[in-house]
């Protein structure tokens, strides 16, 4: 008991009497166009218990699904403590979306500027001309790739003057210093072409006359134009890919966030626990593990830490307490799949309690039980929940479990 009182303090929930814990406002849930719940209004105050009675099959489960986020409502709202059970757009979401966008943008840009040739230009060529691998050199080569400057490469003992991406060989020299000199002259010509027609450097040595057969033709007009355009082209590709990727990443992550806003995890984190009619325990886990995993999640729910500290001994103690309270102590270490239907339902209720919820939704606890078992379940619920925990129980009729509740609500008027 002390455990639960502590959590109330830690959650800091000061409940004013005029705001009910759970308030359902004009809720409509449809299935295939047929309304299962039509404009339902329901307020549940803290610490009270409500039985929802309906002889039909679908409506009660649909209501509980709509409360805990498993099913989306077509209109209306569900509020816990006056707050909607929906994830807000927090700073964390914003940074996450932005980070994803930038990352996708960078990946797209890397693909667009040809990461393979970038690697060739930045890493391999530095080794070829034997430059020390300092950050300054690294940055210089990176810049020279994006400026589409000419570079020197080596093949079979010859020094080649190549374009930045290494695709085009402009000249071949035997001597490195000679190659360097020629490269600088060529680069000057290309830079001059880029800056515009006003600047004319002395490139008579380079731009040869095609009619003179003895002179080597190094850079003709079209090559010069192409090389001068290279810088603009690579910049355009990089930036446009980055912007496309940014939009793609931001859009995708916003879509994912939007889809996950009204999910059961959000409701569970707010403190809504539910059990199912078909018990939906974890069949290949023992009873003990079934409850332990829920207890741990309950602790994670209340902790705001990124990596919450879990006191294992406390968890185990709480698990044992819960197992004892629903009378499954003899079956602690048998698999949930081996339990009888009644025991499975008890386990379901224990799992609901294990989350240490603010409101517990129990779906048809009396379904398929004989009278004795119904009374036993009613006793359990009375013992562990009543007066402390807010309870919503659904039922097909006025069975003993429904009778322990403070009030009853009939879904359909007939």
């Amino acid at each position: 008991m002390t455990h639960r009182e502590n959590t109330k303090v830690s959650e800091g929930a000061v409940l004013s009497p005029d705001i009910p814990l759970l308030s359902i406002d004009r809720l409509t849930v449809q299935s295939g166009g047929i309304p299962l719940i039509d404009e339902l209004e329901l307020d549940v105050s803290a610490g009270s218990s409500v039985a929802i009675i309906d002889s039909g099959r679908g409506s009660k489960a649909a209501l509980l699904d709509a409360i805990c986020g498993l099913r989306s409502a077509s209109s209306g709202s569900v509020r816990l403590d006056g707050r909607r059970l929906k994830q807000g757009f927090s700073a964390k979401t914003f940074w996450g979306v932005l980070f994803t966008g930038i990352l996708v943008g960078l990946l797209c840009a890397a693909a667009a500027v040809d990461i393979d040739r970038l690697w060739l230009a930045v890493v391999k060529r530095g080794l070829v001309v034997d430059e020390p691998f300092t950050p300054a050199n690294f940055g210089r080569r990176l810049r020279s790739y994006f400026r589409a400057e000419l570079a020197i490469d080596r093949l079979a003992g010859n020094w080649r003057i190549v374009t930045a991406d290494g695709r085009e060989v402009l000249a071949v020299r035997r001597d490195l210093s000679e190659a360097r000199e020629l490269r600088n002259q060529m680069q000057a010509a290309v830079t001059a072409r880029r800056t515009g027609p006003g600047v004319v450097p002395d490139i008579t040595d380079l731009v040869g006359d095609a009619n003179e057969p003895q002179r080597e033709l190094l850079l003709d007009e079209t090559t010069l134009d192409r090389l001068a355009a290279g810088k603009r082209r690579i910049r355009f590709r990089g930036w446009s890919a980055f912007i496309c990727g940014l939009f793609l990443g931001v859009g995708m992550s916003l879509a994912i966030w939007q889809r996950g806003r009204r999910s059961p995890e959000v409701a569970a984190r707010a403190g809504v626990a539910r059990t199912f009619r078909s018990p939906r325990n974890f069949p290949a886990m023992t009873v003990f593990e079934n409850i332990l995993v829920t207890v741990e999640q309950g602790i994670y729910r209340k902790s705001s830490a990124w990596w919450p500290h879990v006191n294992k001994a406390n968890c185990i103690e709480r698990t044992e307490e819960l197992i004892r309270s629903v009378g499954l102590i003899d079956q602690s270490f048998s698999f949930a799949s081996d339990l009888t239907r009644y025991e499975q339902r008890c386990l379901g209720i224990a799992r609901g309690l294990a989350m240490d919820p603010r409101i517990l939704l129990i779906d048809e606890p009396a379904d398929g039980m004989n009278t004795q078992q119904q009374h036993a379940l009613a006793g359990i619920l009375k013992d562990v929940c009543k007066g402390v925990l807010t309870l919503v129980v659904t039922s097909a009729g006025n069975d003993p479990v429904a009778l322990i509740c403070d009030r009853t609500v009939h879904l359909s008027p007939h």
């Binding site: 593990e289 799949s337 799992r351």
Partner: protein, 360 residues
């Protein structure tokens, strides 16, 4: 007072629970009793141990969270590639082996997270297709990014671990090349660490959340387990473990080799080994890999060389090799296991319970 010696049945019971201790002790002592491990056999055993590590990574994903993962070999290859990029003398980084392993495992895990975060919301078969596609993308990237990855030849030579470190005048790197027991022990230690890690994870809160999501995703969601986050953690851990295996693999071979080795075939072979051994079971995974890959890597070459000798004496030509029937034999083994023991050779406790439930 009479001392009561533990009987054999006690030992059997104890070793069933703590099977790692006898198994790893035996493997660690094996080189003393079997000197052939210093030669070619040691290299073959090392590659089996390395595949065991990758299979344990896959087991985290397939066994614990129940998601089909068809691209484990691509993470294996990525880990190896990062190690190669960081260490080969062609590249300027040339950092030591151990930091390179840490960095490449981290990078592989990051790539796993990147791939997983948008795709793990998909249901079962769709995720399998995503991982399948990713595996092919990685293989094709390896082939096409020739300047980074070395294309079909691969990156190499990767300096052996400990090269440049001298212990009492002996170069450790040279020892690693000469004597394959060094790599054998390195992989054995890595495998042991990974086994312990997976075991701890299985018994942790995260491990229970994995199982919960596998068993009843709906119920897991209503107790606040975010299925996507939980699966993402498993996917990342699987990627990291496979990346570690890839690092060890390329370091022991000395080159990343042909990228086609990191394709779909390798992924499916590892998956088969996990299924034969028993999904979600650590000893099962090890047994499955030992049977499938041990047969492939260790048994077949030795049997073939023996048969060639015999046939050469009798017929002067070699008529039959087991190697050409390798895949058929593996297929038959898979069919037989699936027919007579569908939960695997050493099933995990949980899967046995689940299987029984589905039978009822």
């Amino acid at each position: 007072m009479k001392i009561q010696w533990p009987s054999l049945s006690h030992f059997v019971k104890w070793s069933k629970k703590n099977w790692e201790i006898p198994v790893f002790t035996m493997l660690a002592l094996a080189p003393w009793f079997y000197p052939a491990l210093a030669g070619g056999l040691g290299g073959q055993m090392t590659s089996v141990l390395i595949i065991c590590i990758a299979a344990l990574g896959l087991n985290v994903m397939v066994g614990f969270t129940g998601f089909l993962h068809l691209g484990i070999a691509s993470f294996f290859g990525l880990g190896g590639l990062f190690l190669a990029i960081l260490t080969v003398p062609m590249n300027p980084l040339e950092i030591g082996f151990l930091p390179a392993v840490f960095v490449s495992v981290g990078l592989t895990a990051a790539i796993g997270t990147l791939l997983g975060s948008p795709t793990l919301r998909l249901r079962g078969e769709y995720l399998a297709i995503v991982t399948l596609g990713f595996g092919e993308v990685v293989r094709v990237l390896f082939l096409n990014l020739e300047n980074v990855t070395g294309g079909t030849q691969g990156l190499g030579p990767i300096p052996p671990p400990g090269s440049g470190i001298f212990v009492t005048g002996i170069d450790l790197g040279r020892e690693f090349v000469v004597d394959s027991r060094w790599f054998y022990y390195l992989s054995l230690i890595a495998l042991f660490v990974v086994v312990l890690l997976v075991r701890v994870l299985e018994k942790s809160a995260l491990g229970r959340a994995w199982i919960a999501v596998r068993e009843e995703p709906l119920a897991a969601a209503t107790i606040g387990i975010s299925a996507t986050k939980v699966r993402l953690s498993a996917f990342t851990i699987a990627a990291a473990i496979a990346g570690l295996a890839g690092c060890l693999s390329v370091a022991s071979i000395g080159t990343t080799g042909d990228p086609n080795a990191f394709g779909f075939n390798r992924s499916v072979a590892i998956l088969c080994a996990v299924i034969i051994g028993g999904l979600g079971s650590i000893p099962g995974t090890l047994v499955g890999v030992t049977i499938l890959f041990g047969f492939d890597i260790v048994v077949i070459p030795s049997v073939d060389s023996w048969m060639q000798r015999i046939q050469g004496q009798v017929f002067d030509v070699s008529l039959f090799t087991l190697g050409s029937w390798r895949l058929a034999l593996v297929g038959i083994a898979l069919i037989v296991v699936m027919r007579f023991r569908p939960i695997g050779l050493i099933p995990s406790r949980r899967f046995a319970a689940e299987f029984q439930e589905s039978k009822q």
